[in-house]
């Protein structure tokens, strides 16, 4: 029964089957899970913006009444100016000029406070969030390691390029001061046009309550982020919001992503699970075939043991022990292979035109069920072998010798 060659064959078949069982559905499951997480983080949001206008409170109330709208975050986007001395430009003339003092405006928000950007949506990729100090976080497109942005009309190589720790002379609501870049926000297509993020407490202390209240505290938001219940609701809610908005406001969401995410969750992920199940069924069939070959080839051992007083139950225990050992070894190999191989499976999605790469991982559910299956398969294989021997009868078993 315990011939090394056949044992290796059984371990090989079981390992490949259990690997398929763990790996294939895991890929589907983790990609689906990661995509769902990403979808819930970005895909279920709609941003509303317009150049210069104010969103009426009545409009906000109407939006909040749309079924599927979970939360609305209204805030104020205004401008911060970078003051650059001795700025080189051609000004479109073909000849270089030096401008002694130039101001470059970018969109900015306060984080927290009335009219402020919701802190929960601010994620940093490096550095820290600005505190009660002259400091700001910035969008990745301002990062000084980015490729130069060329403005043909101005002939400017790059207006503003900063990195964490850089100091800049800025102007906001007429107040000039030096500030430090302390953090870089993660790419988020929802508000990629917002370049700077200030701390609201700092700004109130710096500008004074009156000026602060005039700028941010009078319910004159010009930017909304709307949280929707699910990705599936996004197109419908986005369309409903668009109908409520006066020009120049518009609702932004990624319809293609919303559809892709839905399609993945409802079609692709179950397909992975079906493939995994088919692999498993195929492996069980092969395992039984191999176990039958093993039992048939050396059935005389079982016959000999029965003539020496062994009970069928004891024979079943012997086969179970043998197959269980092989199954455990196979499971251990399959788990290691699955964990190692899963890192090679990644999927790329384009969300709001941003490339998102999601890596697969061995799903603990399939690892645990893989172990249970290995145990059950060994017990079931032993049972079928013993049933087959019983059908052969002792005389038939011994005749195989």
């Amino acid at each position: 029964m315990r011939e090394v060659g056949w044992s290796v064959v059984i371990v090989g078949v079981l390992t490949s089957g259990l690997t398929a069982w763990i790996l294939i559905p895991s890929i589907g499951s983790t990609l689906s899970s990661n995509l769902t997480t990403y979808a819930n983080g970005v895909g279920t949001y709609i941003s509303v913006e317009g150049s210069g206008g104010v969103i009426l409170q009545s409009t906000i109330r109407n939006i909040s009444a749309i079924p599927g709208v979970q939360e609305i975050y209204p805030f104020v986007v205004n401008g911060t100016y970078f003051v650059v001395h001795n700025f080189n430009t051609t000004l479109g003339t073909g000849q270089w000029h030096v401008i002694p003092l130039a101001n470059f405006g970018v969109s900015s928000v306060l984080v927290g406070g009335p009219g402020g950007f919701p802190p929960a949506l601010l994620t940093l990729s490096s550095g820290k969030a600005p505190g009660n100090e002259p400091a700001f976080a910035f969008e990745p497109y301002l990062e000084d390691s980015q490729p130069p942005q060329t403005d043909v009309q101005l002939g400017v190589a790059q207006e503003v390029a900063i990195g964490c720790g850089a100091c800049a002379n800025v102007s906001i609501v007429g107040s000039h001061f030096n500030a430090t870049a302390v953090g870089e926000v993660a790419v988020n297509p929802l508000f990629s046009d917002i370049a700077l993020f200030w701390n609201s407490t700092f700004m109130m202390n710096h500008l004074g309550p009156q000026l602060y209240q005039e700028e941010w505290g009078s319910n004159r938001s010009n930017y909304l982020i709307v949280k929707v219940d699910s990705v599936a609701d996004v197109p419908r809610v986005g369309s409903a919001i668009s109908q409520l908005l006066p020009p120049p406001f518009q609702a932004n969401y990624d319809q293609v992503f919303a559809q892709d995410a839905q399609s993945f969750v409802t079609q692709t992920a179950p397909l992975y699970e079906i493939i995994g199940l088919i692999s498993l069924v195929a492996v069980i069939a092969i395992t039984f075939l191999v176990s039958h070959l093993v039992a048939g080839k050396r059935s005389w051992e079982a016959g000999m043991l029965l003539t020496q007083g062994w009970k069928w139950r004891e024979l079943y225990s012997l086969y179970s022990y043998y197959f269980l050992m092989l199954s455990i070894v196979s499971f251990a190999l399959a788990a290691v292979i699955s964990v190692a191989a899963s890192h090679f499976f990644t999927s790329t999605y384009y969300i709001f035109a941003e490339k998102v790469t999601v890596a697969a991982a061995a799903d603990p559910f399939y690892v645990v069920t893989g172990l249970l299956l290995a145990i059950l398969m060994s017990l079931f294989a032993s049972w079928t072998v013993v049933q087959r021997l019983k059908r052969m009868g002792l005389d038939g078993i011994l005749r195989a010798y």
């Binding site: 315990r2 051992e301 000999m304 043991l305 029965l306 003539t307 002792l394 005389d395």
Partner: protein, 205 residues
């Protein structure tokens, strides 16, 4: 006691036993004598409860085995019968001693004693591929003796054995009968019938 009345046994279209009558009593060894293919092994398998008669009555200690279920026959075989094969069946990847202790569950000391009595004292830790045909046969016999069942069936126990070793083997088998056990063995050599109280001459059908 074993009793056969009008027993028939076929293998496919080949009739191996026909209207066989036989009675074996405790303490009276029986030898089945005949050439190869005459049905000795088939008859031994019948009395060893490895197979059933196609027709006729086979009783062991008064119990008609043709009328009992497979599990009941398994149980009866376990309790009553030890069987040694014409070609010894040993597990090749364990030692001679383990082939006795692991298979029969006999204590190691008793197994060593019997194997030594059979002239295998220096071969205990050898695996079957390293043993001669006669040595393998003796390991198989040791198992049957150690199981201690009332009925001992031996299929050509003296084949492949030199006369001296054969004598030792038969002493042990006879000792089983002398203690009141049932012993049935087969042989192709008329000279080997000397250990038996009864001899059945068998001819090919």
């Amino acid at each position: 006691m074993i009793k056969l009345e009008g027993v028939y046994k076929n293998y496919g279209a080949i009739r191996v036993l026909e209207a066989m009558d036989l009675q074996v009593e405790e303490g009276k060894p029986l030898c089945l004598l005949g050439r190869s293919g005459c049905g000795k092994s088939t008859l031994l398998k019948l009395v060893a409860l490895i197979t059933r008669p196609d027709k006729g009555i086979l009783t062991i200690d008064g119990k008609d085995v043709t009328k009992i279920s497979d599990p009941e026959m398994d149980e009866l075989r376990r309790e009553k019968v030890s069987y040694t094969f014409q070609e010894p069946l040993l597990i090749p990847y364990i030692t001679a001693l383990e082939n006795v202790t692991e298979v029969t569950g006999a204590p190691k000391e008793k197994a060593v004693k019997v194997l030594t009595q059979l002239g295998l004292g220096d071969r205990l830790n050898h695996r079957p591929p390293k043993l001669s045909g006669g040595e393998k046969k003796r390991v198989d016999l040791a198992r049957a003796i150690l199981r201690g069942t009332p009925i001992l069936i031996a299929d050509e126990p003296l084949s492949n054995l030199d006369p001296e070793t054969g004598e030792k083997v038969m002493e042990l088998l006879k000792a089983h009968a002398d203690k009141g056990g049932v012993l049935v063995y087969s042989s192709v050599e008329p000279s080997e019938t000397k250990y038996a109280s009864q001899v059945v001459n068998m001819e090919k059908k």
